[in-house]
Symmetry: C2
């Protein structure tokens, strides 16, 4: 299948591009390299030393004989996007190419506006490009479980049947996102749903949990293929951040009570979920929503898991509680449905101690690269 | 009260600014005059000849002694918006300043992107300006009943209690808007709800129905204060368009079956609703939603009402059915709640034959200004 992976230089996009290429798909990466620029802006880095995109795809070709074409440019430049569509004629367009950090979107007005402009308008361009140049192309769009917030009822996969005053309807599941970034994904979801309805576009919205891990079968093949790992207060997600804190002798910094519960999955499942979505496309006009996670944990539970595994590696680390920089419920109900991807064949990698040891060992190997002053949260929601 | 009316040169904004000024409020209009520019872009016009904003506020001062200050600029220019907030110190910010036409947003990609950029990012700027410069200021934001779409259950005012798998929560009412314009308002609503939660902003979202009429007590005071009336396929809303079609010997063009039911209100109620919202501000941190309409009708019913009244004025006109240029349900349930504004004192002007005669007579007076080739819909959703 001809698949474009937009955002294919990023943490989820790169291993996904490799995985799809390895499965025999004809993969093209589209990326504006902005994730690397944000590192420069924030004086931050990946714990793992990552090669340039050119080096990465060169090494992949050398190892496997498989070519991944690259287009360096921005989805917000429609002239560029048009050429991508004309030249690649995609059958699936995997859209990771958005600003994906909640704290980054909350830095200030400029970053909030940038995030919504970049994400929402870029995605609008993708919808128009599919309509104009590849109407059969299946849009596989990365959403987030954070779109739902933490309602006091079960979270369903995109839709919910509501009975009200003696009548019934199946409605889009109400969204209560917790940052301008998460809001941008909610806006995307609404825009895509409408485009499916009026233009018959086929789309799958992957409401992804928080991703942990770094290696996949493909990124392990050579050091030049290694994935990035973020640990800083802006782009580092909870579990990876805890592991790096443990490796560098830093307290594991839980925000607030730590009873916030979130959905998680391993990067190995991310790449498999995208493959499953691509191989089982949505129908014409269908806006399909999958909740893409395998387990959920409270942040406190995660910190304690990491603490235990770190201790087994000879690292003594404390769990400390910081004032929560975010405005969010710290005590809440959380129960989310995630059966659709499993019904299509996902076999989850669960968060075992072995998995944690494996990530921790990689992180320890590179711990000298950690810029310690980047670890603590510097961005407040208030 | 110090009130900024953003979009105060437009169809709803102008009479609202006059009404609030007449009630003794200290009113400032902020407008980038874009509604007039879109007329130029579309080679269109208002049936009523409208004076420049400068002439309008000059005449108002001459007649009443009341001054309405004006700032000409764009909410998307934050330097400008900052100065508006610093200089006016608003206690209420009435936000009409968005691109408000569904067909305009559906012209092509550029117009869709423009609409969402202009509306969503402009509104984000307003939220930041309130947070930074006037945290007590009450945001009165114009939304639309079109945010809800046509669900098969009753439409509530912004929120709905959902019982699901034995648990309950009050959730944001699910939105199913029908154009990129309507989507922009849904995005706004989500952004505002979040800003209220994290920054304690007080906001009222007025989900307004389709507005008809043109005169208010204030605009009737002098021909130079007259309100604009749109009739073209892009900016003309259903009832006003039918009246102008009747006046100019054009068929009343119903899209599709005409069984689409929509919520309506008179412009005289628009100005009163905004006044009610301003005088009863939302609490700090409250995101309050009012459904701002007084009645609902099917499009076919409206056309027949106009046909009857036109006949009484000696105008014979036919109701004709066009292929629907929009993608929308033509047969659907529609029942929407609108008690909150009435509980606060709104006394609706209902759509009587007298009201229709009154508008029709004004339109007849200016019918030579109608550019006939603009009447039919030229923009398709497909």
């Amino acid at each position: 299948m001809r698949i474009v992976v937009a955002g294919g230089d990023g943490f989820c996009g790169w291993p996904t591009a490799l995985h799809l290429s390895n499965q025999g798909h004809e993969v093209t990466i589209v990326d504006n390299l902005s994730r690397r620029k944000w590192d420069e802006e924030l004086h931050s880095n990946s714990v793992t030393p990552i090669a340039s995109l050119e080096e990465r795809v060169g090494k992949w070709k050398e190892l496997t004989g498989k070519e991944i074409k690259t287009y360096i440019g921005d989805l917000n430049h429609y002239d560029f996007l048009r050429e991508v569509f004309r030249q690649t004629e995609p059958e699936a367009f995997v859209h990771f190419a958005e600003q994906r950090s909640a704290p980054y979107s909350m830095i200030d007005r400029e970053h909030a506006v940038f995030t919504q402009q970049n994400n929402v308008l870029g995605n609008l361009n993708v919808l128009y490009a599919i309509k104009e140049f590849a109407p059969e192309c299946h849009l596989i769009k990365l959403g987030t479980m954070g779109e739902y917030g933490t309602p006091n009822i079960d979270i369903e996969e995109g839709y919910i049947e509501i009975e009200h005053k003696g009548r019934k309807d199946v409605m889009p599941y109400p969204k209560q996102p917790g940052s301008f970034y998460h809001l941008s994904k909610v806006h995307d979801s609404h825009n895509i749903m409408f485009a499916c309805k009026i233009w018959g576009i086929r789309a799958t919205d992957l409401n992804q949990g928080i991703v942990y891990g770094l290696h996949t079968n493909e990124t392990k093949m050579d050091p030049m293929l290694v994935n990035r790992v973020d640990y800083d207060g802006v782009f580092g997600t909870a579990l990876n951040r805890f592991l790096i804190q443990a490796a560098t002798g830093h307290d594991l910094t839980v925000y607030g009570s730590g009873n916030q519960t979130r959905a998680f999955l391993n990067i190995e499942d991310t790449v498999r979920c995208v493959e499953i979505a691509a191989e089982n496309p949505a129908d014409k006009g269908e806006f399909r929503v999958f909740n893409q996670f395998t387990e959920y944990f409270s942040v406190q539970e995660l910190a304690e898991k990491v603490q235990k595994v770190a201790k087994e590696e000879g690292l003594n680390t404390e769990v400390s509680h910081l004032d929560n920089p975010r405005i969010e419920a710290e005590e809440h109900y959380y129960h989310a449905v995630n059966t659709k991807l499993r019904d299509l064949g996902l076999e989850p990698h669960l968060l075992t101690d072995d998995v944690l040891h494996d990530i921790l060992q990689t992180v320890i190997e590179h711990k000298d690269r950690v810029i310690k002053e980047n670890i603590l949260p510097s961005i407040k929601w208030k």
